[in-house]
Symmetry: C2
Amino acid sequence: MSPGDFAAFLARAAAVVGREHVSADTAELDRLSTATFATRGRVFGRVSPGSPAEVCDLMRAANVPLYPVSGGKNWGLGSRVPPRDAVLLDLGRLNRIVDFDEDLATVTLEPGVTFRQLHAFLCERGSRLFAATTGGSPDGSVIANALERGDGSGPNGDRALHLTALEVVLPTGEVVHTGFDRFQGASTATLHRYGVGPALDGLFTQSNLGVVTRATVWLAPLPRFLGAVRFAVARDSELGPVLDAIRRLRLDGTLRSAVGVWNDYRVLSVTERRPAGAPLSRQAVAERVGHRWFGLASIYAGSRKLGEAAVDHVEAELRPLVTSLDTAVECGDPRAGHELFPTDDPALAFLQGVPHEASLRSLYYRKREDPPRQMDPDRDGVGALWVSGALPLRGEVIVRATTEVERVMLAHGFDPLVVLLCHAERTLQLLPMIVFDREHADADARALACHDALIATLAADGHLPQRLALPAMGGLPPPRDDFSAVLARLKQALDPLGVLAPGRYDFPPPR
Amino acid sequence: MSPGDFAAFLARAAAVVGREHVSADTAELDRLSTATFATRGRVFGRVSPGSPAEVCDLMRAANVPLYPVSGGKNWGLGSRVPPRDAVLLDLGRLNRIVDFDEDLATVTLEPGVTFRQLHAFLCERGSRLFAATTGGSPDGSVIANALERGDGSGPNGDRALHLTALEVVLPTGEVVHTGFDRFQGASTATLHRYGVGPALDGLFTQSNLGVVTRATVWLAPLPRFLGAVRFAVARDSELGPVLDAIRRLRLDGTLRSAVGVWNDYRVLSVTERRPAGAPLSRQAVAERVGHRWFGLASIYAGSRKLGEAAVDHVEAELRPLVTSLDTAVECGDPRAGHELFPTDDPALAFLQGVPHEASLRSLYYRKREDPPRQMDPDRDGVGALWVSGALPLRGEVIVRATTEVERVMLAHGFDPLVVLLCHAERTLQLLPMIVFDREHADADARALACHDALIATLAADGHLPQRLALPAMGGLPPPRDDFSAVLARLKQALDPLGVLAPGRYDFPPPR
């Protein structure tokens, strides 16, 4: 691709979307090419379509790589920066809430709709439903986060699992709808998980095979009873049995939402800021924070009696294993669009689908200045690079892996911020967060080295990443089967010119 | 395809699997070509590979259509008969239970493993886990039923949703593994729903794109508490509000398993046999059975207190709406591999993963003779043809549709056996069952006409079928988008010669 090719495409794109929705402004493109760590791909233009039909026209006109972004808030993983040089296909103008059903608990959105916008919509409508909400930015895209298989709060926390009726524009300009939505007037278009025949939804999650221009999100009722169980353990050796107990509580259906467990460094990063110097010693952190690991489990129930029984069951299982445990419960009739618990505790509001920026503040942990009112980590020189390891939900295995992860991070000179997210019945997401100040010399290079070392350390025990930061896109081990060749043929069938997001979750076979 | 082509392939197949595992015996092929209704496709041979490697070799050697069957018990939908002339690829010899994990609640199987075999395995092991079990034959394939998106008992009742790590032989002879199972030694190979990158699993459900030779089934713990709530309503007008209440109880997480609701005719078919004559009148059925609709909801809980609270909540919601309601509960420590409830009630055993043949007996409702000890509906001239409609879980809509369905069945001279399966939070499966005696003149033709009329009646209100009997494979309305062309390209990419199960869930574009 030459700059001339990009310029020629931008001219064609302007004819589709209007000149005012195309940018080749150098300052803007510099900004769009900046993430929270060092990246290679360069943004050669921005095109902002105003309708799915314009997306089709752009795809048909494209002979240069296009990289779709919605909210552009994929912080820690690459923000809106493409893996390779590309024009940004900015879907932010597709921000309509298209349909809503209070009884069947669905909302149909375009990809530009943010968590904040959806929450405000539900409040305005007086809805008694809530959306699984990301711990990331409130201004992230609801659909894009689900397609990335992000996690959220509440019983619909496996966000990709509660997304249906995808409207997908293929790189050929063709359009397909998943599930029953491909049939005109289907009564279960947005309601049925599968439709009939092969289910294509999975092809468009963590992929570069199509642009999703609309989808339906399944909502959950605000519970009549909400319980929060906070627990802490003082020593690593206590953590394993707690995680095993959580597995049993997830498998028996008592816990139906993610349980987050943070280490002491991660907890400290919320309340402190440490602009300079080496990581705190383990002892110094222990003195400041008190315990080693801090967990929060949430219980959603349709009646007070049910909720109290569930809290009791969780407490009975965990109490003998932990150093401290507290429960908070609230029961009643959630007023229209409002939560049961007051919102001054962001963690409790989050459990009820209220997005917040509390987690975002801790990205500034190593910055010299306090976070600004309008936080923008890309602009503010925040360093943030995540690893997202998938582990069996087995205490012993997880404790061994976290010990290794913390060792590697300290050895690379980073505070070992670690979150364990018990996001499912059988697996756990291990999230080492590399947080740094990009304005420090060598910090970028050291962060990348630490990222790669973490991936390698986890992979040595068979723990692979379940979501990839840009530097990890090319770094997975080769498969033991014909997956690479088959995926390449599927890509060829759907994107014969290879214009959509090359380098994104496409795992080309080694040459 | 000429008979010579088939013969030539069978000779090549014998070199792969051994002569004793290939059949061209006319009597056997006649038997294999017989379902529970009139079919067109003819079986031109049977090949029974003994390993996934042999499946690869057979796929590479194939230049004639191959139709994979596992248990071959797809009664009511087509048994093991192919939509078009083909050689049966009989996977029954692949019947190993490959791996089992009591803690993480998984079992890895080959497609020949039956529900009966898996249940026996778990009992022998003293496992405290159970598998979601089909209401169909105990000798059906666990994996094939899940790939068909069959429903089962318990919290893992959406069987396709609890299936992972598919090992798939493509028609090219290539092999892919889904999820993390494509990586050698991945610690979450059989545990993680998605893996990393595009998820291919959905491509191999209700499809003709690959042969699954191994998969992992997620099991559920036998509950510490099991509750059964039986209810009945006397009038159609009462049914709608009950279904709406079930929707709320599913959405709020109180009910985590399918709720079956049977009409009076369906209930009668379990206990009576009516070998001749027109359908019973509504009044005659009412006099015999007492109520119009009969439901069974099941509650699985990790503690007695939780289970009792859930039963109370269900009872509080349903009691004001129904004519009668009874609860049965059992609590304790399920002994290794045994259920909480005694097994003499097959419905309660079924809730705990014990397969049974009680439903099978009612296929003989219109036969002259009592069911034989070894029931084989294909052999016994049983007529059975199912429609599986997907409807929104909205009482009013469902009552309207069932009224129409019963009218159409009676008009075609069939007893309107109807099952409503509340299988999910937002949709319901409406199952009209056409049961007849194939030995009656014209019965086959009348059944097909009734099937087509039911599909058309439901489709007129936007209710499409979610699982297809052979006669429905070519009968869906055309999509409103480019789905047909895209699916055809995916098929071309995975099966360039078109040898795998042509006519099965492939929806060719109209010529």
